[in-house]
């Protein structure tokens, strides 16, 4: 039996359906990321798991207990909020022990657990400081420490990195990853940042408009998105979409491309019709031998490790990622060859992957 189980969970706010029949399961020790654009219902879903938002349809199970009707405090969950929600008038130690004080845990026990958590999170020297005297990363550790001492079944994170600057965001993400590897606590993490999702998750639940689009591991999600939305949401720079026609023999024609697609890219036999061909920027080479298209370079973005070459091919915007030593500049016309085995084909109207 899985550790966390959501069964047909739906939630409406008035006439607005925020979540529609959401079901997924997570194994003990897994790191589940709820990913989606803002307004997709991912935070609502998290609040339903905590019990902070009530009145929903469907059932929620945590650690073999049906928690659907339980109060937040009885669900054995702990949450790290976007703002960290530290109590500004209490010291770090008091912040961590607040829940235990409320629940009348004996003082000696309380102090011991605070110290244990502080040791695990390297907060020992900060126990007598106030939240305003801490850095963003330290605040997050306190928020996590507050969760740890409660020994919850489930850790929940609501966009905890979104208030941090880029450098700190990276550091705290690494810290989170380390922490999860060490503690093996089952975690549900909400974010709209695909990069966070890819780097942290053992399983990604991709949401759109209150519905699950795809549940998959990060690598699976990247390589085999179920539809155009999933393909465009994951990956930076965004996947290239070339509009064109597909023949029954598997030939794609459009956007300056006339290529025969390998059978392996289709789940079934190719269905002729209007399609969009998804090509990841890194699946391109600049080469004159057997080129597929010619790209007129608009601008080049050096990222350090690679060059993102942006340009137009047959009226469509295309970006390719090439080696940083490549010599290319605006106005150049460069020959492109794609690795078609990695191509994704989507139905032009429904967006579903063929």
């Amino acid at each position: 039996m899985s550790f966390l189980k959501l069964d047909n969970v739906s939630k409406s706010f008035g006439a607005v359906k925020a979540l529609k029949n959401v079901s997924f399961e997570a194994e003990a020790g897994s790191f589940v990321v709820l990913l989606g654009p803002s307004g997709c219902g991912k935070s609502t879903l998290l609040r339903l798991i905590t019990g902070l938002t009530e009145d929903h349809e469907g059932e929620i199970w945590i650690n073999d207990r049906r928690v659907t009707d339980l109060d937040p405090k009885d669900r054995r969950v702990a949450m790290v909020f976007q703002s960290y929600a530290l109590y500004p008038h209490l010291t770090v130690a008091k912040n961590i022990s607040f829940g235990m004080e409320i629940n009348r845990v004996a003082r000696a026990d309380r102090d011991r657990r605070v110290l244990e958590a502080a040791r695990a999170l390297q907060l020992e020297d900060l126990l007598h400081r106030y939240p305003s005297q801490l850095s963003g990363g330290q605040r997050q550790r306190v928020a996590i420490g507050r969760c740890l001492v409660r020994e919850p079944d489930l850790f929940l994170f609501d966009e905890p990195l979104s208030n941090l600057d880029a450098k700190l965001r990276h550091d705290t993400r690494v810290e989170l990853k380390h922490l999860h590897q060490r503690l093996k606590a089952t975690t549900v993490y909400v974010t709209h940042d695909q990069h966070e999702a890819m780097t942290l998750a053992s399983k990604v639940v991709l949401l759109k408009d209150g519905e699950i689009v795809q549940i998959a591991s990060p690598t699976e999600l990247y390589a085999h998105p179920v539809n155009r939305f999933a393909a465009t949401f994951i990956g930076s720079p965004q996947i290239n979409l070339v509009k064109g026609d597909l023949s029954a023999e598997g030939w794609f024609n459009g956007g300056g491309l006339h290529v025969e697609l390998p059978r392996s890219v289709f789940a079934d036999v190719p269905k002729p019709g209007r399609v969009e061909l998804g090509l990841r920027s890194e699946d391109a080479d600049i080469t004159n031998s057997n080129k597929h298209m010619t790209l007129k370079v608009d601008y080049v973005e050096p990222t350090g490790s690679d060059l993102f070459v942006n340009g137009i091919a047959a009226g469509q915007e295309i970006v390719v990622r090439v080696d940083r030593t490549t010599v290319v500049g605006p106005g150049d016309e460069v020959p492109i060859r794609w690795d078609l085995n990695a191509a994704l084909v989507f139905d032009a109207s429904s967006g579903a992957r063929l």
């Binding site: 905590t50 902070l52 937040p72 405090k73 969950v77 702990a78 949450m79 909020f81 976007q82 703002s83 929600a85 109590y87 500004p88 008038h89 607040f98 829940g99 409320i102 629940n103 507050r146 409660r150």
Partner: protein, 289 residues
Amino acid sequence: MSRRHRMTPLKALSLAFQYLTLVVISIIVLLPLWSLIVSSLKAPREYLDTNRIVPPQNWFNMSNYLEAIYPEQANGITIGGAFLNTGIILVCSLVLLILFGSMAAFTINRFKFRGRLLILGAYAALVAVPGILTPVSTFQVLKLLSLTNSKWALVVLYSGADIVSLLIFIQFLRGISTEIDDSARIEGANYFQIFFRLILPMLTPAIATVVILRTVGIYNDFVLPYIYVPQPQEATVSMMLWNMAGYQSGTTQAVLLAAIVLVILPTVIGFFFLQRFIYAGITSGSVKG
């Protein structure tokens, strides 16, 4: 460097004008206070013979103050008793006011319920009722409660939260993320624990502002004590001064002035200690605390 700081005649003139204005305004504000202090230190004869702003012959003549504190013929009011009454009224009504006001604000700000805006509207509408219209009915109510002629009548009247205090609290609560409440709820706190252990301590700046605003109002109030509590034993400081100034009292002017100085003293001292909060209170709300 020296060029930049060189004073042009125009700049000097403008600076002189600024200082002149400040000096004039300061004199206007401080002169009555000066007059009060110097006069309160003068002997009875000297008080009559000299004008009001001449310094006293003896800066350490405390006889007026002693007379104010230990009057020869007490009308049932001593200055100590008046301070005690005012103090009791202040402390009791402020505690109740803060409790009622912050709780009402918490409920209005954090819970969505029917009639929420109606309650807020009712508070606001009260401001529109002229105070002069209500004493008769208020008196009836207090009489029904057997509270007339007692300082507890004033405690009851002052402890109702007014719209200004309520809005100050609501404004501060808006700046406190509801994630704090959510976090505490997950940790097992009920609404009372959330309010008393987290929200109330976090409202300290708002409480300071309300305390300052209301203290000034209550401490200086004359009308309500005059109407509801004319009893000398229950007199507040303002009532005591009024009694001393009355033609029936044998108090001399200089003694009255000494008493006034004594009454002003706590406010002045209080202001020096609390001015940090007063400035903070004025700018609060716009900037998150």
